[in-house]
């Protein structure tokens, strides 16, 4: 992302399809402007989010990870966010031991109607990550190199 070097940090979002992804859509429909750093990965449910995806994302170059799901009791699948809450809270408390600042990972609940709240979450989290600056992971481990994927052969870089 050289063209935006210094302006953007790498923030990855994992959002459940039913509530938070919809909330982000609602924010868009409402034209609630947001910083451009965030890239959203859509998953069906916060219960699908393996904490290891987040670990991987943080270790491999993201400066911040934001997870958002349905509010407790409102999970489309009934219980996914209840499991997610336990997994994510445990992860959040664990991460500092490997040198990831607590502020680089947050999880929250945003419903499909809460466009404005989504804007506030993105704004707030982006500011928080910018206050922390780039993650030490790149400096410590070096930039990520091409990883041969499971389909074999190196991928073409952007």
């Amino acid at each position: 992302m050289p063209i935006l070097a210094g302006k953007e940090l790498r923030i990855v979002g994992f959002l459940c399809n039913w509530c938070s992804y919809g909330g982000a859509d609602t924010a868009g429909v409402g034209r609630f402007s947001q910083p451009t750093d965030l890239r959203i990965i859509r998953v069906p449910c916060s219960g699908r989010i393996d904490p290891l995806f987040i670990v991987k994302t943080l270790l491999y170059g993201a400066d911040g990870v934001l997870v958002s799901g349905c509010h407790p009791r409102d999970c489309h699948y009934g219980q996914g966010n209840f499991y997610a809450r336990r997994r994510l809270e445990a992860l959040k408390r664990f991460l500092p031991i490997i040198g990831v600042e607590p502020g680089r990972f947050e999880y929250t609940w945003v419903s499909a109607s809460e466009g404005q709240r989504w804007q506030q979450v993105v704004q707030g989290f982006t500011e928080q990550v910018h206050a922390l600056g780039p993650s030490p992971a790149s400096a410590v481990f070096g930039a990520c190199r091409e990883i041969p994927d499971e389909k074999g052969g190196p991928r073409v870089a952007v």
Partner: protein, 319 residues
């Protein structure tokens, strides 16, 4: 009859109905005991019981699934068995558990540090106060607290928690310092970037031998570990500290709420990477969040596989 002799008698009695009984025997040198699979009554004579019986033998149990086996257990090992029972990876009716009260096992790395070179220790003896090593330089005396594994100094479960035979008087919990806590506190006091760099440096020594995984009683994936699969493809074969740390984190996350903190992972590490700290941290988190410790109750559900609608210790953060 000493408790150990009583136990041997019990094993002899039970053996005819069992595929084998897992214990320890003298290893290749005076300092090493080695896992031992007793199949005939005469094998029982070779069974040893000493502070050198470090291995957590419960690691072997899943490979005997469906067969009747016996196993000799220290307190910490018994937690591994309980966890395996909980996850239905072994069946209680197929097991005969021979427990022994344990006052702690030696940390060979510590002894090696005192002796200079472990390979040249020709004999070892121990008493209440410590260990005596016979070395070419003469006898070296190592005090108990400098010789025992960290986990033993503050061991809360010196007696097998689940056993069919438990000869001898139960021992009280140890009251020594919690060195694990001290280690975590020291790590947590570091600046994040320095801490991450420290892990990178530690992991750069890793030779990806997976001894940590193979020694872990809770690593039940065996041949299907995602560290070595293409589908799913979590790790590449790249020899980088990042990939190696990622594996440790995979192991830690997979153990969340399941780790019995036996320390076998770190003990097995041939290059002495302090990887137990990661598991220990996760255990602390699980304990503070869910008031739960693994391997104490075979009927419990590990906390990440259940939930409360209102979590007592998780407060929603303002965003």
């Amino acid at each position: 009859m000493s408790p150990f002799e009583t136990l041997k008698e019990k094993i002899r009695e039970a053996l005819p109905g069992l595929d084998c009984v897992i214990g320890w025997r003298q290893g290749f040198d005076p300092l090493h005991a080695t896992p031992f699979f007793m199949r005939a009554p005469e094998d029982v004579e070779k069974l040893v019981w000493s502070p050198l019986c470090v291995h957590n033998l419960s690691t072997y149990l899943p490979s005997f699934r469906g067969k009747k086996v016996g196993i000799v257990l220290k307190g910490c090992d018994s937690r591994g068995v309980i966890e395996l029972l909980q996850e239905k990876l072994v069946e209680r009716e197929n097991l005969v558990l021979f427990g022994l009260p344990c006052s702690g096992v030696a940390d060979l790395t510590k002894l090696g540090r005192a002796a200079g070179d472990l390979d040249r220790v020709s004999a070892v003896a121990w008493d209440e106060a410590g260990f005596t090593l016979a070395t070419p330089r003469g006898e070296v005396r190592v005090a108990r607290r400098d010789a025992l594994a960290d986990k033993c100094l503050s061991c809360q479960f010196p007696n097998a928690l689940e056993a069919d035979h438990l000869p001898g008087d139960p021992l009280p919990p140890a009251t020594g310092p919690d060195l694990g806590d001290e280690e975590l506190a020291a790590l947590e006091a570091m600046a994040p970037a320095d801490l991450m760099a420290r892990w990178a440096a530690e992991m750069s020594r890793c030779i990806r031998c997976y001894a940590c995984r193979n020694a872990c009683p809770m690593c039940v994936c065996r041949d299907h570990c995602i560290a070595q699969s293409r589908d799913p493809h979590w790790l590449s074969q790249e020899d980088s500290p990042r990939e190696k740390l990622m594996f440790q984190l995979i192991h830690t996350m997979h153990l969340a709420g399941r780790c019995v903190e036996c320390g076998e992972c770190q003990r097995a590490c041939p290059v002495d990477i302090p990887i137990l700290a990661l598991r220990r941290k996760m255990n602390r988190v699980v304990r503070e969040l869910f008031d739960y410790q693994a391997g104490l109750d075979s009927q419990a559900v590990p906390p990440l596989f259940t939930f409360q609608v209102e979590e007592a210790n998780i407060k929603e953060r303002k965003w």
